[in-house]
Amino acid sequence: MADLSAQAPITTDGIRSAYMAMTRRRRLYSGAMLAIFVALMVAGFNLADSRNAGGFWDGWHNVLDFPAQVWGEAIEKAHELPGHFVTFFPALLETVNIAAASTLLGALLGILMSLLSTRGMARWPRMIPVFRRIMDILRAIPEIVIALVLIFVLGGGPVPAMIAIALHTVGALGKLFSEVNENASLKPVEGLQSVGASWSQRMLLGIIPQVAPNYLSYALLRFEINIRASAILGFVGAGGIGYELKNAMSWGQGKFDEAAAIFILLFLTIVFFDQISSYYRDRLTKGAQQ
C-alpha cells in the first residue's frame, strides 16, 4: 500500500476527476461518431434520391397506388384466384425444387469442402488455404451473376438457377460447417485412425455424427434463403414462380389478378418454410443443449 501511494497519490478526488474526464472524452467521441454517422446517412439518402429516376418526396404518396391497384383487381376477380393458384402451382413447385435441390447439392459439397479445409481433419493439410479461398470466392459471387451467364450458355430453365444457387451455397455453408467442425472432438478420429480407417471412414463415422445436428440447422436456414433466391432468379429468366411473376407484371393493368395470386403464393410459401425451418432449428439447437 505504501509503495502504491508513494508512486501516485490516489485520492477520491483524483479518481473522480480522472473518471469524469474520461467520461467526457468518451461522450465527445461517441457524439462525434454519431454525428458523422447521421451526416453519412442523410447525405447518402440525398445522393441516392438524386440518382433515382423518381424522387422520394414525389413518389412516397404513390407507394400504395400499385399495391392498391393489384389488391383492387384481385378483389374484383376474387372468384378467379383459386384457378390462378392451381395454374401457378407447378411454377411454385419448380421454385421450391430449385431451392431444395441446390441446398442439398450445396450442402453435400459444402460438407466435403469444410472437412477439407479444417485443421486436423483435412485430407491434404497443405491444401487448406486453397479450399478456403475457393469457398471465399464462391461465397462472394452473387447467384445472379452465375445464373445470367449460365442462362446464356445453357438456355433458360431451372438448371442454371440450380447450379448458381448451389455454388453460392457451397461457399456459404462450407464456411459455417468448417466453424462447426472446429468445435468437434478429434478423439473419435484418432481412435478410428488407430484401427486403420480410411479418411472417408474417419470423417463419416468420427466427425459427421458429432456435427450433423448443427449442419442440419444451418442447411435449413440456407434452404429458407435459397427459396427467396430462387424466386428472384426466376425473375431474370430462370423459370419458376419468379418468371411467371415477371410475365404477369408485363401484361400490365387488367391482368394484375395473376400478379396478386403469385404474390400471395410466394408470400405464403416463404412464411410456411420460414416457420417450419425455424421450428426444426429450434428443436435441433435445444436438443443439442440437453
Partner: protein, 448 residues
C-alpha cells in the same frame, strides 16, 4: 442385475442399431430418389439440346481475348479497322495497328506464322502456309472464289464456301467474304483498350514509357500535366467507362449501407416493443411481430417491384427494398437478443434511481451493442450481394451494368470485368466488416 434386464437392454440396443441402420441407408436413398426426380423434372436429358457450345466458346474466348475487325466495304470501296467492331474502337483514317500495312490500293495484314491477308482493290487474298492462296472478290452476282486446288465443294471443313459467302477460319484469324463486304478478324490476348482508347496520345505505350512521360516536364497536352492527362484519359475511357463503372460500384455499396443501417435504426425501437421483457402489452407485441414477419415474408423481390413503381429505377428504390426486408429480419434478431439480456445489470442501474430511459441507456444498450453490431456488420456484407441482385432487377448500380452487358451477348470482356469487380467489392466489404466487428466488439468488451 437379473437376466431379464440384460435381455431387455440387448433388445433395446439392437432395436436402436436397427433404427440407425435404417436411417443410414434410408437417408441416402431418399436423397438419391429426390435427385432422380429432379433429373427428370428439370429435363436435364434435354439440356444438351438447349445448351449452346458456340455461346460458351464465345464467352470464354471473349473474356480473355479481343478481336480486331478489318473491314472492306465493296460499296464505298473503303477500309475500316475497328477493335471489337465498335465505333469507339475505330482507328482514325490512315492509321492502323502495327500488324497492318496500309497500301495505296488496300492493305496487307500479317497474322503471324506466315499467314498473310491482303486487300487489293476489291480482291481479297489469304495466304495460308502449307495450303496455298485463297482469293475472293465480293460482287453483286455472288462471291467469286479461287482456291489453290479443287472446287467450292471439296475444301477442308475450316473453309465454309457457298455462292454468296466464304468463311475461312484458322488458328490465326477468321476471314469472311460476302457479296458486299470482306471482313478479317484477328484475335489477340487481353482486354482491349482497357487503359487508353485510340484517340488518347498515351495509347500503345509501355508501362516504362508512361512512367517516363509522367515524370517528364514537357506536357503532351498543353495546360495540363501528363499525370492529370493520363488520369483524364483513363477515367473517361469511352470503351470501358471507368468512371461510370466506379460510380455503379459505389451506388451498390451505398444501397447496402443505407438499407442495412436504415433498417437497424427502424428495427431497434420496434424490437423493444416486440420483446417480452420490455413490452408489457401482449397486443402490441403480437402486432409488431406480425409486422416483422410480414415485411420479411414479402421479400426483397416483391418490395423492389412495388417500390420501383412508385420511385422508378435507381439506388433509392434498392436501398428502400433492402431497408424494408431487413427491418423484419433485424426486428426479429434484435428482439430475441433483448429477451436474452441479463436483468441484473438493469436492476443495478435501477437501484441508483435511474429513470426508464436511463435504465435502457445504461442497463440494456451496453449489453446488446456487441451482439447487434456484429449482426449488423454481417448483414452489411451480405446486403452488398443483395444490392447487386436488386440492382439487376430495379436498374441501379453494378447489377444493372452487368445485366446490360449480358443482354448485348457480345461484350463478354465487360461481363468478366464486372464479375471481377463484384467479387472484389464483396470481398472488400467482407474484410472491412470483419475488421470493424473485431475492433468494435473488442473495444466494447474492454471499455463499457
Amino acid at each position: 442385475m437379473s437376466m431379464t434386464a440384460t435381455a431387455d437392454f440387448k433388445g433395446e440396443a439392437s432395436r436402436l442399431f436397427q433404427r440407425k441402420r435404417l436411417f443410414n441407408f434410408g437417408l441416402p436413398a431418399v436423397i438419391l430418389v429426390y435427385f432422380v426426380y429432379i433429373f427428370f423434372a428439370f429435363d436435364i436429358p434435354g439440356l444438351s439440346e438447349r445448351a449452346s457450345i458456340d455461346n460458351a466458346r464465345a464467352l470464354v474466348a471473349d473474356s480473355y481475348s479481343h478481336k480486331t475487325h478489318v473491314l472492306y466495304d465493296a460499296r464505298s470501296e473503303s477500309i475500316e479497322i475497328a477493335i471489337e467492331g465498335e465505333r469507339k474502337g475505330t482507328y482514325a483514317e490512315g492509321t492502323a495497328p502495327d500488324w497492318v500495312n496500309l497500301t495505296e490500293t488496300g492493305m496487307v495484314a500479317q497474322l503471324g506464322r506466315g499467314h498473310v491477308v491482303t486487300y487489293e482493290g476489291d480482291w481479297v487474298r489469304y495466304d495460308i502456309p502449307e495450303f496455298g492462296v485463297i482469293e475472293a472478290r465480293p460482287s453483286r452476282s455472288g462471291v467469286e472464289m479461287v482456291f489453290p486446288q479443287g472446287d467450292m465443294e471439296d475444301q477442308p471443313e475450316w473453309i465454309n464456301a457457298s455462292k454468296n459467302r466464304l468463311a475461312v477460319t484458322t488458328d490465326r484469324g477468321r476471314l469472311t467474304v460476302t457479296r458486299t463486304r470482306a471482313e478479317l478478324f484477328k484475335y489477340d490476348m487481353g482486354w482491349e483498350l482497357f487503359f487508353f482508347t485510340l484517340d488518347s496520345p498515351f495509347h500503345g505505350k509501355g508501362f516504362g514509357e508512361l512512367l517516363g512521360l509522367a515524370v517528364s516536364g514537357d506536357p503532351v497536352r498543353p495546360e495540363v500535366s501528363n499525370i492529370a492527362a493520363m488520369w483524364h484519359d483513363f477515367w473517361n475511357n469511352a470503351m470501358w467507362r471507368h468512371s461510370e463503372v466506379m460510380w455503379a460500384v459505389f451506388e451498390t455499396i451505398l444501397m447496402a449501407f443505407l438499407g442495412t443501417f436504415g433498417a437497424a435504426m427502424l428495427a431497434l425501437p420496434l424490437a423493444f416493443m416486440a420483446a417480452r421483457n420490455f413490452s408489457p402489452f401482449m397486443a402490441v407485441r403480437f402486432g409488431v411481430r406480425r409486422v416483422f414477419d410480414f415485411v420479411r415474408g414479402v421479400d426483397a423481390l416483391i418490395w423492389t417491384i412495388v417500390l420501383a413503381r412508385a420511385f422508378g429505377p435507381g439506388p433509392l428504390t434498392g436501398a428502400l427494398a433492402i431497408l424494408l426486408t431487413d427491418t423484419g429480419t433485424f426486428g426479429k434478431l434484435f428482439s430475441e437478443t433483448l429477451e436474452n439480456v441479463d436483468e441484473k445489470q438493469i436492476e443495478g442501474v435501477q437501484s441508483t434511481g435511474a429513470k426508464p430511459m436511463q435504465r435502457y441507456r445504461f442497463g440494456v444498450i451496453p449489453q446488446i451493442t456487441p451482439v447487434l453490431l456484429s449482426q449488423l456488420l454481417y448483414y452489411l456484407e451480405s446486403n452488398t450481394r443483395s444490392a447487386t441482385i436488386i440492382g439487376a432487377i430495379t436498374g441501379g448500380g453494378i447489377g444493372l451494368l452487368l445485366t446490360q452487358a449480358i443482354i448485348t451477348q457480345k461484350d463478354w470482356e465487360e461481363v468478366s470485368y464486372y464479375i471481377v469487380l463484384i467479387v472484389l467489392m464483396v470481398m472488400a466489404m467482407d474484410t472491412i466488416s470483419g475488421w470493424l466487428r473485431r475492433r468494435l466488439i473488442q473495444s466494447d468488451d474492454a471499455g463499457v
